[in-house]
C-alpha cells in the first residue's frame, strides 16, 4: 500500500548493499558481557526479529549496532562507508515527552542528517514531512504538542521520523510495547514495505506470535546466540527452553573469559 502514498523522494534506492556482519561480537558494561561472542550476517530485505528473555542483551545489541556502545570484543562490519546511516528507535521512555515541540517539528528532525544542525528545511523536505505524517495516519495532528499525544500516537510520530530519516538500516527496540492491534498492524505494514525496498530492518520483539507471523528471520538471544535463521526453525520448543534457562544473575566472582585467547567462539 505504501508506494503510491510515498513520493519518489522517500523511497529507498539502495538495493544492492551488503549485509551487516557481526564478527565474534561481545558487548557489555564494565567488562560484564551482556552479549557473548555473536557472529553472523544480517541480510538486507529480510525482516529480522531479535527475541529472548529479559536481560538477554537484545537492547544492548541494538545500541551497539546504532553506534552508541563500543564493543568490548569483536567488531561490526557495516559494509557501508557511512556507519551513521542508521535510523534507531529506542524504547519510548528515553524521550522527554514534556518538551514543548509540535508533531510536525518533531518529525522534521528526521531530516537532520541531510540538512545538518545549521541548514534550513527545504520545500522538498517539508513535503516529505507532510508525506510521512500521512503515511502513519496522523494528518490533522501536525500542530499538536507531543505532550498531548497518546502512547500509540507518539509511536506513530516516532515511525514518521524514521520515514523522514530514510536510512538503509532501521533498528527498532520494542516498537509495539504499549500500542493497540490496529496501530501495530499499521506499523507492521510499514516494516514490510521497508524490507521490500531492500533495507535492513532489525526489530526487538517480546511477542513471539508476532515474530512467527511477520518476521522471516529470527535471532534468539540469551546473552549468547541460541539460534539464528528462518523464524520457524529458530522458535522451537527446545530453543525457547534453552533461552529460558539462561541465568540472569550475574556471577560476582566471574573469571576472565579465556575464549578469545583460545580461539573458541561458541559456548
Amino acid at each position: 500500500m505504501g508506494q503510491f502514498l510515498l513520493g519518489p523522494y522517500l523511497t529507498h534506492p539502495n538495493k544492492n548493499r551488503r549485509g551487516i556482519e557481526l564478527i565474534n561480537l561481545t558487548l557489555g558494561y564494565e567488562r560484564r558481557p551482556a552479549v557473548h561472542h555473536l557472529s553472523g550476517t544480517i541480510a538486507p530485505g529480510a525482516a529480522l526479529a531479535v527475541c529472548g528473555p529479559n536481560g538477554a542483551g537484545k537492547s544492548t545489541l541494538l545500541k551497539a549496532l546504532a553506534g552508541l556502545l563500543r564493543p568490548i570484543g569483536g567488531r561490526i562490519d557495516y559494509g557501508s562507508p557511512d556507519p551513521r546511516a542508521i535510523a534507531y528507535l529506542p524504547q519510548l521512555i528515553e524521550i522527554d515527552r514534556s518538551f514543548p515541540i509540535d508533531v510536525k517539528d518533531f518529525i522534521a528532525l528526521g531530516a537532520l542528517r541531510r540538512i545538518g544542525l545549521f541548514g534550513g528545511l527545504t520545500a522538498r523536505e517539508c513535503d516529505s514531512v507532510e508525506q510521512a505524517i500521512q503515511r502513519v495516519g496522523l494528518s490533522g495532528l501536525e500542530h499538536r504538542p507531543i505532550a498531548t499525544l497518546s502512547g500509540g500516537q507518539m509511536q506513530r510520530v516516532l515511525f514518521a521520523r524514521l520515514i523522514m530519516q530514510n536510512e538503509p538500516v532501521i533498528l527498532l527496540d520494542e516498537p509495539f510495547g504499549a500500542i493497540d492491534e490496529a496501530t501495530t498492524e499499521h506499523l507492521l505494514n510499514l516494516i514490510a514495505h521497508w524490507c521490500a525496498e531492500g533495507r535492513i530492518v532489525i526489530t526487538v520483539l517480546h511477542d513471539l506470535e508476532l515474530a512467527r507471523r511477520v518476521f522471516a528471520q529470527t535471532l534468539l538471544l540469551a546473552r549468547h546466540c541460541i539460534a539464528w535463521g528462518p523464524t520457524q526453525e529458530v522458535l522451537t520448543k527446545e530453543n525457547l527452553q534453552k533461552a529460558r534457562a539462561m541465568s540472569e544473575a550475574y556471577d560476582a566472582d566471574a573469571r576472565e573469559c579465556l575464549l578469545d585467547a583460545a580461539g573458541v567462539h561458541d559456548h
Binding site: 551513521r84 534507531y88 524521550i95 522527554d96 544542525l117
Partner: protein, 294 residues
C-alpha cells in the same frame, strides 16, 4: 498636567538625570536578554538548580582574582570564568564517564568550590568584600563592566541562534543527537559554558546570587505562559527586561538595593504567572473551560 508630570518623574526622569541609572539599565537589560532564554533551556533540561550551583562554583576563581589583584574587574572576571568553566567541564566529564548523574556531580563540585572560595576570601579581607562579590553593585557599572555585559549578551544570543537546533535536540532526545551527529558530545559543554559566561558577567552587575535570579525567574514565568519554545524564549527575555527596568525604578523610588529590587520584581512576575499562566497556571484548574466536540 500635574499627574502626567509625576509619571515621567518616576518612570523616565531618573534615567535622563543620572548617568549611573542609564548604565545600570543597559547592563541589566543586556544580562536579562541573554540570561533568561538560557534559563528556559536550563528548566527544560531539568537543571534549574544548576545555575545556582554554578554561581557558587565561580566564587573561588573570583576570590583568587581578588587576592591577586584586589577589586579589579578583569582579574576577578577571568578567575570566575576559569573556575566556572572548570566546574562545568568536570561535571560534564563526570556525568559522561561515571555512574553519578549530572546533578550529583555538580552538587559535589560546587560545594567543594564554594567552601574553597569562602576560605580564600576570609584569608584576606572582611565579610564586607564577600558581600560585595555575592550581591554586586549594579549602580557602580564602569565602562569595561558595561562592555563585558553587552559583549557577553551579544555572544550568547548569537550562539543560541546558531546552535538552537542542537540545543533543542540535545534537550529533547539526546540519544537521537548522539546517534546522528558528530558534534553532539560538545553541545552540553557549550551550553554550560554559556551559562557560566552569563553568570560571570552578571556577578559584577548584580552579584552571583542575583544573576541566577535574573536567569531563572523570568524563564520559569515564561514557561507558564506558552507551550511553544519560540514564544517562551523571547517572552522570558521580555519579562527579564521588564524586571530590570521596573526594579531600577522601584529601587530609585524607595532606596532599596538595586539587585534585590530587580529580582523581587522578577519574583512578582513569576508568582503572577503561577496563578494566571495560560500554560500551566493554578487558576486554569479552577474552572475548566467547556470541552470541545472532538
Amino acid at each position: 498636567m500635574q499627574r502626567a508630570f509625576m509619571i515621567t518623574d518616576v518612570f523616565i526622569a531618573p534615567f535622563i538625570e543620572y548617568e549611573f541609572m542609564r548604565r545600570a539599565l543597559v547592563g541589566s537589560v543586556a544580562l536579562a536578554m541573554s540570561g533568561a532564554p538560557l534559563g528556559v533551556f536550563l528548566i527544560l533540561r531539568r537543571m534549574s538548580l544548576a545555575g545556582d550551583a554554578l554561581s557558587h562554583a565561580i566564587l573561588p576563581g573570583a576570590a583568587v582574582g581578588y587576592l591577586i589583584a584586589g577589586l579589579s574587574l578583569p582579574a576577578m572576571t577571568l578567575g570566575g570564568l576559569i573556575a566556572g568553566l572548570i566546574i562545568a567541564f568536570a561535571t560534564g566529564l563526570a556525568a559522561r564517564f561515571t555512574t553519578l548523574r549530572e546533578d550529583a556531580s555538580l552538587a559535589a563540585f560546587y560545594l567543594v568550590s564554594l567552601s574553597l572560595g569562602v576560605t580564600l576570601v576570609s584569608m584576606r579581607g572582611s565579610n564586607i568584600d564577600l558581600l560585595h562579590i555575592l550581591f554586586g553593585s549594579v549602580i557602580g557599572l564602569d565602562n569595561p563592566a558595561l562592555f563585558m555585559l553587552v559583549g557577553v549578551s551579544t555572544f550568547t544570543l548569537l550562539c543560541l541562534a546558531l546552535f538552537y537546533r542542537a540545543f533543542v535536540i540535545d534537550t529533547l532526545d539526546p540519544i537521537f543527537l548522539r546517534q546522528t551527529t558528530r558534534i553532539s558530545e560538545m553541545i552540553p559543554f557549550l551550553f554550560l559554558g554559556l551559562v557560566v559566561l552569563n553568570l560571570v558577567a552578571g556577578f559584577h552587575a548584580l552579584g552571583t546570587l542575583m544573576a541566577v535570579g535574573l536567569i531563572m525567574l523570568p524563564a520559569a514565568a515564561a514557561r507558564l505562559w506558552s507551550f511553544q519554545l519560540m514564544v517562551a524564549l523571547p517572552l522570558a527575555a521580555a519579562i527579564g527586561v521588564f524586571s530590570a527596568y521596573a526594579g531600577l525604578v522601584f529601587s530609585n523610588e524607595t532606596g532599596a538595593p538595586t539587585g534585590p529590587a530587580i529580582i523581587l520584581v522578577a519574583g512578582i512576575c513569576y508568582f503572577a504567572s503561577l496563578f494566571f499562566g495560560r500554560a500551566g497556571g493554578i487558576l486554569r484548574l479552577r474552572r475548566p473551560r467547556s470541552h470541545l466536540e472532538g
